[in-house]
C-alpha cells in the first residue's frame, strides 16, 4: 500500500486542477469497477455492485496550494492567493511546485525582524521562481506544496495525506471488494473540497444516493497544547459523530460501530469542532441524504508533513469493506 500512498501524495493537484491525480486513480481502479466517468467539474465517479442501497462514498483528490495571480513588475516575485486554508506559520521557506514542475520558494517580508516571531498576513509572503536566466512563471498559475513521502515505523509522513489517504482507502476497499457488492456503490474521487466542498455537492446531486460516506482525515488530540480531541494517532479508524458541518445520524454511528465490534476492527469516535468534509454537502443534496464519515487520524494537518499511521489506514479499509460488502440495515432512529 505504501507505494500507492507515495504515488498519490507526491502527485500534483491543487483544487480545480486535479487532473494528474485523477489520471493516477483512473489507472489504479481500472478493472476494479463496473463503470467510471468524469463529470462536468472533474469528479471521477466509479460505480460497482448492484442491488441493496445506493451509496455514495467520497474522498477528495484536491490539496491545498497557492494561486500566483500577480508578478511584481521588476523583481518577478509572485504574489499569491490561497487555495484552501493555508497555515501562515508554515509558509516561509516552504516549497511549492507549479504544474510544469518548476519549484518556487516562499519568502516573507522582514524575515529576521517582524516575520521571525509573528505570523504575518498572507500579503506579506511571496514566491521566488527565479532561475537566474530570466524565465518566469506566468501569472494565473496554481501551485501545490512539494515534499517527498517518508515513513517512520508505522507512521506515514507526506504532504496532501489530506485527502490522498482517503483516496487510498477508497481504492484499497475497491480492491478488497473485487467488484462484488450487494449494494449499488458510487465511489467518488471529488474535486474542490478544500475551497468549499464544491465537487461533492454536484456529484451527490447527480448520484442521488440513499446513503453518503465521506473518507477524510481528521485532527488528533494527542499533540501538546493542541485542540482537545479524543482521537489518537494509531487508535484505529475514526467514526465521525459530529463536526462543524455534519451531525451524523445515530443509526449510522451504530451501524459502523456494530460492524467494527463484530469484526474486531479497532475504531474510535471522532468529534471535530473546526472543520468538515464532503459528507456535509452530501447530506443536503436534493431531498437530503443520511450521511456519515470514516476518518483517518492525521497530525500536522495542512502542513507539508501530515502524519498518519498505516494501522489506522488498514482499519479504515477493513471497516469500509465490511460495511459495504454486505446488505446495509440501518435502524430507524
Amino acid at each position: 500500500m505504501n507505494e500507492l500512498i507515495r504515488k498519490l501524495t507526491e502527485a500534483w493537484g491543487p483544487s480545480g486542477y486535479e487532473h494528474q491525480v485523477r489520471r493516477l486513480i483512473q489507472e489504479e481502479v481500472a478493472g476494479l469497477v463496473d463503470e467510471m466517468r468524469v463529470d462536468a467539474l472533474g469528479n471521477l465517479i466509479c460505480r460497482v455492485g448492484s442491488g441493496g442501497k445506493r451509496v455514495m462514498v467520497s474522498a477528495h483528490m484536491d490539496e491545498i496550494g497557492v494561486m500566483a495571480l500577480f508578478a511584481e513588475p521588476e523583481s518577478g516575485y509572485l504574489r499569491f492567493e490561497p487555495i484552501g486554508g493555508l497555515l501562515h506559520s508554515t509558509l516561509a521557506g516552504n516549497r511549492v511546485r507549479f504544474e510544469d514542475g518548476i519549484t518556487g520558494v516562499i519568502g516573507v517580508h522582514d524575515s529576521f525582524g517582524v516575520g521571525r516571531t509573528s505570523v504575518p498576513a498572507l500579503r506579506d509572503f511571496y514566491i521566488d521562481v527565479s532561475d537566474g536566466a530570466g524565465a518566469a512563471v506566468e501569472a494565473g498559475s496554481p501551485a501545490a506544496f512539494w515534499r517527498e513521502f517518508e515513513t517512520r515505523g508505522t507512521r506515514l509522513i507526506a504532504k496532501s495525506l489530506d485527502d490522498r489517504i482517503g483516496c487510498v482507502v477508497a481504492i484499497e476497499t475497491l480492491r478488497a471488494l473485487g467488484r462484488q457488492a450487494p449494494n449499488e456503490l458510487h465511489f467518488v474521487f471529488s474535486v474542490q473540497e478544500e475551497v468549499g466542498l464544491r465537487g461533492a455537492r454536484t456529484a451527490a446531486y447527480a448520484i442521488d444516493p440513499e446513503l453518503g460516506i465521506a473518507l477524510d482525515v481528521t485532527a488528533t488530540g494527542d499533540e501538546p497544547r493542541n485542540r482537545k480531541m479524543a482521537v489518537t494517532l494509531g487508535g484505529g479508524a475514526a467514526i465521525k459523530v459530529h463536526d462543524s458541518g455534519l451531525v451524523v445520524p445515530p443509526a449510522i454511528v451504530a451501524w459502523m460501530e456494530g460492524c467494527a465490534a463484530q469484526e474486531g476492527i479497532p475504531v474510535q469516535r471522532e468529534l471535530l469542532d473546526a472543520g468538515t468534509t464532503d459528507a456535509a454537502v452530501i447530506q443536503v443534496a436534493r431531498a437530503g441524504v443520511p450521511s456519515g464519515c470514516i476518518s483517518i487520524p492525521c497530525r500536522f494537518l495542512h502542513t507539508s508533513s501530515e502524519t498518519c499511521d498505516i494501522r489506522d489506514v488498514q482499519a479504515c479499509v477493513e471497516l469500509l469493506r465490511q460495511l459495504l460488502g454486505r446488505p446495509i440495515e440501518l435502524d430507524a432512529a
Binding site: L41, P73, Y77, H109, T202, A206
Partner: protein
C-alpha cells in the same frame, strides 16, 4: 458600444430585488431577437437563442446581472429623515453629502452630513446610522412621500468624459447587460445560447442559482464588470514601498481588454475554458488580461455548482470606482469584450470540454 443603450441601462434604477426598471429596458431591447422569453419567479429574465447548427453542441448559458447596489428606506425619524441600510456592498465612507434618488418617483435626497464649518473632525457615518434628507419638515410630510422598503439609488447621471470613456452609476453590471443585449441582437449563432439576465447578484448570487437550475446548461459564461485600480498607490506607506517594497496590485487595468477570472472567493474557473478564451483572444488579436486578485465573487459562484455542475468562466470589463456613483469604463474594453465573445462563442464545441 451602443452608447444610448448603456446610458438607459446605467440610468435605470434597480437595486437587488427591485429590478423592474432594468428588466423593462432589457425585455424591450431583446423581444423578437430571442425565443422562450420569460421572467421567472425571482425576477430573472430567461430566454434562448437557437443556433443554426445547435445539434450536438454544448448548450451555453450567457448571463449578466441586472441589479445594482444601493440603499433601502427602513423608517422615518420624527424630524422627517429617512433611516436606511445598504443593499449589497457599499462603502460608507463615500456616502455623506452624496445626492441620491428615493423611491419609484426618484425624489431627490442627500445623505446626511455635517458641513465642514461645523466639524472638521467628522468621521464617516456608519451604515447603520445613515440617514437621507429629502427636505421634509417632519415625519408626517416624509411619510406622504416615502414608505419603508423604497429603494435609494445614486442620483449621478451617465456621461461621457471623452470619446474613449463612459462614466455612470451601476455600470456594474449594466455594462454586462448592454453587452449581452448587443450579442443577442446579432443574427443567428451556430451554437444554442441560453440567456439569463439575473436578479439579486449583489446580495448573494440568488437569481443565478435558480436560473442555472432551470436552464441546466452544459457551459456558462458570466459577463461582469470588475474593479480596476490601475492608479498610483496613494496609501500612507507608498514612499516606503517605492524603496523596494511590494508593487501595487491593480486587480485589473483599464484599456487592457477583457479580464478573465482565474479564481475568486466563490469559484475556480474551469482551466479548459480559460485555455479556450485565451487561445480565442490570441487568434483574434484581442487584448486580454487576468484579474490579479481573488476578492469578490460573481454569479459563476452559484452557477458552477448548480445541479450536477457546470463548467463556468467569467469575462469581465475592468472599471474604476465600481459600487460608487461614478464608475469609469473604457469604450475599448467594452468593444474588445464584445468582439471576444463574438469570436469565441461560435467555436465552442464538445472538443472545448474534452479532457486529456
Amino acid at each position: 458600444m451602443n452608447i444610448d443603450l448603456l446610458r438607459r441601462l446605467s440610468s435605470a434604477r434597480a437595486i437587488s430585488g427591485q429590478e423592474d426598471d432594468a428588466r423593462q429596458i432589457i425585455i424591450a431591447a431583446i423581444e423578437g431577437q430571442v425565443e422562450e422569453l420569460r421572467v421567472d419567479t425571482l425576477g430573472n429574465i430567461l430566454a434562448s437563442k437557437p443556433g443554426s447548427q445547435g445539434a450536438g453542441r454544448p448548450r451555453v448559458m450567457v448571463t449578466a446581472h441586472m441589479d445594482e447596489i444601493g440603499l433601502v428606506v427602513r423608517g422615518i425619524t420624527a424630524e422627517g429623515l429617512l433611516r436606511c441600510y445598504n443593499v449589497g456592498g457599499i462603502d460608507a465612507r463615500i456616502l455623506p453629502g452624496l445626492r441620491v434618488a428615493v423611491g419609484a418617483e426618484a425624489l431627490p435626497g442627500v445623505v446626511l452630513w455635517k458641513p465642514i464649518h461645523l466639524g472638521r473632525e467628522q468621521k464617516s457615518v456608519p451604515l447603520d446610522k445613515l440617514h437621507v434628507d429629502i427636505g421634509a419638515r417632519d415625519r408626517a410630510e416624509a411619510a406622504r412621500l416615502v414608505r419603508p422598503g423604497d429603494m435609494i439609488t445614486f442620483a449621478e447621471g451617465f456621461s461621457q468624459p471623452g470619446p474613449g470613456s463612459v462614466r455612470g452609476k451601476a455600470l456594474d453590471n449594466r455594462a454586462g447587460c448592454a453587452l449581452l443585449v448587443e450579442l443577442l441582437q446579432d443574427a443567428a449563432w451556430p451554437c444554442d445560447l441560453l440567456v439569463a439576465f439575473t436578479c439579486q447578484e449583489e446580495i448573494g448570487l440568488r437569481g443565478a442559482q435558480v436560473a442555472a437550475q432551470a436552464l441546466q446548461p452544459d457551459v456558462a459564461i458570466v459577463l461582469e464588470t470588475t474593479p480596476a485600480h490601475d492608479l498610483p498607490d496613494l496609501s500612507a506607506d507608498a514612499d516606503e514601498r517605492a524603496g523596494g517594497g511590494p508593487a501595487f496590485n491593480p486587480a485589473t487595468r483599464l484599456g487592457a481588454g477583457p479580464a478573465l477570472t482565474v479564481m475568486d472567493t466563490r469559484m475556480i474557473t474551469d482551466p479548459r475554458l480559460l485555455a479556450w478564451l485565451r487561445a480565442g483572444a490570441r487568434a483574434a488579436g484581442i487584448p486580454l488580461q487576468l484579474k490579479s486578485m481573488r476578492g469578490g465573487g460573481t454569479d459563476g459562484g452559484a452557477i458552477h455548482i448548480a445541479g450536477s455542475g457546470v463548467p463556468t468562466a467569467v469575462v469581465a470589463m475592468p472599471a474604476r470606482y465600481v459600487h460608487g456613483p461614478a464608475a469609469l469604463l473604457r469604450v475599448s474594453d467594452y468593444d474588445h469584450t464584445l468582439a471576444l465573445l463574438r469570436s469565441v462563442l461560435p467555436d465552442l464545441s464538445a472538443a472545448t470540454l474534452a479532457r486529456d
